[in-house]
Each structure stands twice: as structure tokens, then as C-alpha cells.
Subunit: 403 residues, 2 copies
């Protein structure tokens, strides 16, 4: 008998039929003799509908009230899923995040889990019940409900798996695992049976949207065995492992593309100590999330600083960049919304040389021009024209023999 | 400066526009220098939609899970109403029933309030905030959410008014007060400026649906000043008072009709001690709510027992009555769904004779036949054919000079 935490996303519980299908799967896992704890997201579009409702009465609603509102979505789905299990004769009980003992900090709408007191969950498991927990929420020190932000249900599931010392944490989603790249872009995309935490982290943060990064970080930190699989198909998914020597032969594991960014360049800023710090401090003040940063070599005491940001932060970034340009007496500011970031990820890169040159050559052969480059130990990201992104993914997928 | 508890029903907060109108009213009450605590029901049809959702996955969902589900409705409306107040620059905070310190027993879906710890509400009022509380819910001894059943938001409001020692409890609804009878049936119906608790209790339990009976009982017990008024019109409502000598001249205060009942008769049951007890004990076992009970005089050691029940309890009542008929060797069971109960209510009846004969004569003059009669100190109820109900209301309204 194992203890298994399962997480089902919003599309997996979108209506009564989906609920029954998910309940059937949970019931089978329970019947196989396992202790089962389930974390569930809000049904289908509920979260978006609640956000819209809030915006009808307030242009920028208070965070604490937003959390009070949003938490209702998962409360609804968790109780309905529990009823669907009852209908199959499966003993089950629903719990809100606070009832399940999930404690968070006070950062409403983007709270972090500070601890879990799993006493009530243990008690229910002891009675032989499946426990269905509302994802993405917990209790603040002030006894308010806080949400963990989008993707927070994954985090709830992994944190619970760690607290309950579960044997496995299964993330059910609308894809059946982690792919070498997006199958909608590249027909040769292949499902991976296993991938390391580090690799999936790079893929997740690069727009492959398989798992929420924080959930993978927690899984890595607490050694939770993670698995991504389809809630619609009955096929094996992708296991996320801590590290695997057999993988070291493989250089590149996946290709990710992110078309949701734009590029900002500050031209001709003084190349003196503290300038870069000032630039990114100011951007942080304006709540701009900066992703890639590239600074070119200095010429005549001046340099260009380029960085990428999410398209949604563009307006705030413009304000900040204009301020900076004036204060630093820069030669100008450029905004380029017509970009995409394409990355290759693989733990094998660490010990293989020539990956970058192979990447750049393959793109050059197809006339794809590279605008920015940024590298880490296990990934190389480039910025290219947005309309070349899909082609670049296909070229690289083939070039690194991922078919 | 007064402390005022206001309650807004589901139709008063059905959409964003309604929310803003209600928020405006609350804001004005606050601006006038009052401490304001608001109890709100779920938006429009939310409660019915959640019930339907539950029934799509389970024919008779578990009570504890139903409460977990239903409580989300008021959680949504309370946070959205709070946002609407923020949009007007009015300081406000939402609380669920549990957060507001409302404690209940463990009788899920029909819980009773066992106590209120208003510390958190007091604290928020101390900060100058309007407090918006999710109606109809509280926390059980097992730290679960329980609902008070339909109409429970009225009860929440009155119980909070008692616990907070509020100066007034205003129930905003889609009618502008308590009427002498239903204006849709009788065009001469007149709004009452004042009515006693006892009278409104009889009217409420008789189908006039102005206020939930339990809320009036609590108001009476704790001396809460209650007022019913329209959330759409700005006109004075009806005050509910503890008793008023000026009223004693008036014999009858209101006429109520209830078309949601049916009549059951057990024919020829033995007229021996314990039989009636056995009958109503069995009905209670089958969860049948019995309203009027009439037992005729005995003939040759046998008697007929008739009682009325809500139409919704008919199926369970049939099972119980068939069992009883067999066990008691009765001569048969009759079910009549084609009835209505019409009642006249007035505290003045206590000291006036001839009310009953005046009632019966008026009906007889219009050829309306009476099937059952039941009386209390301040009311007389009769059962008549359902299609005569509206006419009976008009006849009695005129006869007792309520125009």
C-alpha cells in the first residue's frame, strides 16, 4: 500500500462528466489499496469568471478580497468531486486549504506556503477516506484565506506530498507528459519517459507550461517523486527525477519557445559601476519582471543594456525606461515587441562542448538571425524574430536528434 | 451614532449593478456616522445553480459536502460587495460566517447558531470599516462550515444584531414591508407601518414569506429592533415591535394563503390512548413536517385523523401513512393535494370574540366550503379547495376592513 497525492487541473474537472471520469480514476487508485489525497483546481473557467465579476465592480480589486473570492472556486470543485466519489460508493471528504492545515504568509494573491499541519488529513486517511483538498489556497497568520497565485494547485500538491511523506505525487493535466518540444509546433515532438528536476525547471520557466516552477523546486528540495500524466488518456506519463546518470549521454532534452516577451534596449548608457544595479532596481520598483539580460562590451565609456520582459509588463517598463534614459543621459530607448525566446535545455550540456555552436549553425543554415544570447549550465536561450520562432523550434528539434 | 446591521437578500445583489446600488446604500448609512455590519445572501440564482451542480453528480449529496459547496455562494457575494464599497472609497472588509465568529451545531444544511464571538467584527468596526458578512453559515464544533438552511441569512443578521447589541436590524428585500395580505392576490393589500413579533411569526409560518421565522424568534428573545424594507425603493418599511397596546383595537392584521400543502386523512383509526402519538412519531421518523392537525370526535370507538404537510414531503408521508394504516387496521388513507390553507392573524383576536364566526360567515356567503379548521390565540387557519384560495383572501381582506 502506497500513499499517493494526485492533482487534477481545471480542465480535468470542467463539468459533471469530467468530474465522474476523475472520480473513477481516484476510486480505482483507492481500490488498489492506496491512501489517496487529491488536490483539485477550480472547475474550467470558474477562476476567469470570478476575476471578471470582481472587475465589474472594481478596476483593481483589493488583494485580500480577491483571495476571499477566488478561494470559492476550489471550494466548489473539491466538494462536488467528493460528491461524485460518494456516488461511486467511495468514502471521501473535502477540505479547504485552511481546513487541510495549509499555512501561508500574508502575501495575498501570491502567497507562499510556510508550513502544513496535516493532522486533519492524517485523521481522515485513518478513517479510510479519500481526502479532496481545494488547491491553490491556505490560511494566513491573520486567519484569512490566501491564494498561491496561478499554478498554485501544483504547489499545493507537491507541498502536501512532502508533508505527508507520500510515495508519489501525480500531476494530471490535459497533456500526457513532458515533450521534447510543443507538439503543436513540431510534429516530431516526442514524449519523455523521464526528465530531471533541473531540466523541467528550465523548460517550465521557458514557456513549456507543464508544471509550475515552484512545485518542481519543492519536489527537488524535499525529494518528492513527481509524475506528469494525462487525465484523459490511460497512458504512462513523464517521471520527474532528481538526476539520472543514464541521461548524461543525451545532450539536449527539450526545446521551448516563449512568444509572450518583448525586448527593451537602453542605448549608450555610461559604463560605470552601479549603472546596471540602478537600471534593474528601478524596473523592480515599477513591478517589471525581467527575464534575460544582456550587456554588450563597452565602447568609448558607453554600453548598451538589453533585457526581455513579459508583454504584460510593457506599459510599466516604458515608464521606467524613459525615466532611466533621462537620468542616465542615455542615447535612447528601443522597444521590440516582435520577438520570441527559443531555448534548448539539457543536463548533458554541462559536460558537452559545442552545443552552442551546433545551435547557432543550425539556425544560420536556415537564415534565422539571433538578436540576444543568454546561457546557463543547462540551457541556452536566444532571442529571434517572432515569426521565425516555430521554424527555429523545428530546426533545432531535428538538429539535436530529438525526433 | 448608531450601530446598524443590514441584511440584503439574493435578488438585491443579483449582478454588478445591483451590487453598486446596495453598496451606495451601505456607504450612505456609514457616511451618516453609523457603525455598519452587513449580512449578504448569495447572488441571484447562485444557490440554485450550486444545488443543480451537486445533483448532476449525486442524487442526494452528503449534507456536510453540500454545506461546503453552498457556503461558497455567500463567500463570493460578500467579497464582491466589499470590492464595490472599495470602489466608492468606503473602507470595508468581508468575512465568512466562520471568520465572523458565528458558531453552529453540527446539524449540516439546517444548523442552528449556538453562539457568536464577535471579537473580529468589533476589531474591524474599531478600524472604521464596514463589515460584510457571508450570511447563512457558521463553524461547527468539528471546524466544518455549516449552513443554516434557506432563509438563514435573516437569522444570521438578527443573531449578529443581538451579539453586537446593535441599535437596529434592517432586512432589505424585494418587497417594501409587511402587507395585510399578498398584493398580487388582493389589490387592496396595504403595507403595515408596524406589526408585532407574534403576528409576523404567524404570518411568516403561514406562507407570507416576509421574514424567516427563526429570525423573528431570535429578535423577540433578545429584543432586537427589526425593520423590513425594500432594497429597490427608498420608502419607509415595516417595523417589527415586541407588542403595542395601540394595536389591540385592531382585530385582524393580516391574511395569508399557503398553496404548498396537501392534506392526509387516516380514516377509522382506533380511538385509544397513544394512537395519535404513534401516528406523529412515525411521520417524524420519515422526516415529514406536519403543520395543521385535526382529529374529529370519536364514533363507535373509531376516529379520523387529518393533517397537512408540505407538498415536497408527500412521497415520504405516503410511505408512513400506508405503514400506519396497515398497523392500526385503519379503514383507509386519503391524500388531497388540491387544497390551500388560508389564515387570518391578529394579536387583537385574543380579546375579541366573534372573529371566527365572522370569518366563516364571510366565506359561506361566497359559497366557499371549509375542510379543516385550526386555531391559536392569534390566528385562525382553514383548509379550503385550492382554486378558492385567492377569492377567500379577497373576501376576508374586505370583511375585516383591511383595505
Amino acid at each position: 500500500m502506497a500513499r499517493i497525492v494526485q492533482k487534477y487541473g481545471g480542465s480535468s474537472v470542467a463539468d459533471a462528466d469530467c468530474m465522474r471520469r476523475v472520480a473513477q480514476r481516484i476510486h480505482e487508485t483507492r481500490e488498489a489499496g492506496n491512501d489517496v489525497v487529491v488536490v483539485v483546481s477550480a472547475m474550467g473557467d470558474t477562476t476567469d469568471e470570478l476575476i471578471q465579476l470582481a472587475q465589474e465592480v472594481h478596476a483593481s480589486p483589493d488583494d485580500r478580497e480577491m483571495d476571499q473570492l477566488m478561494a470559492a472556486g476550489e471550494q466548489i470543485s473539491s466538494s462536488v468531486l467528493t460528491m461524485a466519489l460518494h456516488a461511486m460508493g467511495c468514502e471521501a471528504v473535502s477540505m479547504t486549504g485552511p481546513q487541510a492545515g495549509i499555512r501561508t504568509d500574508a502575501a495575498h494573491t501570491r502567497a507562499k506556503i510556510t508550513g502544513i499541519d496535516p493532522a486533519r488529513v492524517h485523521q481522515a486517511l485513518g478513517f479510510g477516506r479519500v481526502v479532496i483538498i481545494a488547491g491553490f489556497q491556505g490560511l494566513t497568520p491573520a486567519s484569512d484565506v490566501a491564494t498561491l497565485g496561478r499554478g498554485g494547485s501544483d504547489t499545493t500538491a507537491v507541498a502536501l506530498a512532502a508533508a505527508l511523506e507520500a510515495d508519489k505525487c501525480q500531476i494530471f493535466t490535459d497533456v500526457d507528459g513532458v515533450y521534447t518540444t510543443d507538439p503543436r509546433i513540431c510534429s516530431g515532438a516526442r514524449k519523455l519517459d523521464r526528465i530531471t528536476c533541473d531540466e523541467v525547471l528550465e523548460l517550465a520557466s521557458l514557456g513549456a507550461k507543464v508544471l509550475h516552477s515552484r512545485s518542481v523546486e519543492i519536489a527537488k528540495k524535499y525529494g518528492v517523486r513527481l509524475e506528469v500524466l494525462s487525465s484523459f488518456k490511460r497512458s504512462p506519463g513523464t517521471e520527474i527525477v532528481e538526476g539520472d546518470s543514464s541521461m548524461e549521454d543525451v545532450v539536449v532534452r527539450g526545446i521551448a519557445a516563449d512568444k509572450g516577451q518583448c525586448k527593451v534596449t537602453l542605448h549608450g548608457v555610461p559604463d560605470s559601476p552601479g549603472v546596471a544595479a540602478r537600471v534593474f532596481h528601478r524596473l523592480a520598483d515599477h513591478d517589471v519582471n525581467v527575464d534575460m539580460i544582456v550587456q554588450n562590451v563597452s565602447e568609448e565609456g558607453h554600453t548598451n543594456i538589453s533585457f526581455t520582459i513579459p508583454v504584460s509588463d510593457m506599459k510599466r517598463a516604458k515608464t521606467a525606461a524613459d525615466e532611466l534614459s533621462r537620468e542616465l543621459e542615455a542615447q535612447g530607448v528601443d522597444f521590440d515587441e516582435d520577438i520570441a525566446k527559443v531555448s534548448i535545455v539539457g543536463i548533458g550540456m554541462k559536460s558537452h562542448s559545442g552545443v552552442a555552436s551546433r545551435m547557432f549553425s543550425a539556425l544560420a543554415e536556415h537564415g534565422i538571425n539571433i538578436g540576444m544570447i543568454s546561457t546557463s549550465e543547462i540551457k541556452i536561450s536566444i532571442v529571434i524574430a517572432r515569426d521565425s520562432a516555430d521554424e527555429a523550434v523545428r530546426v533545432l528539434h531535428k538538429s539535436f536528434e530529438l525526433e
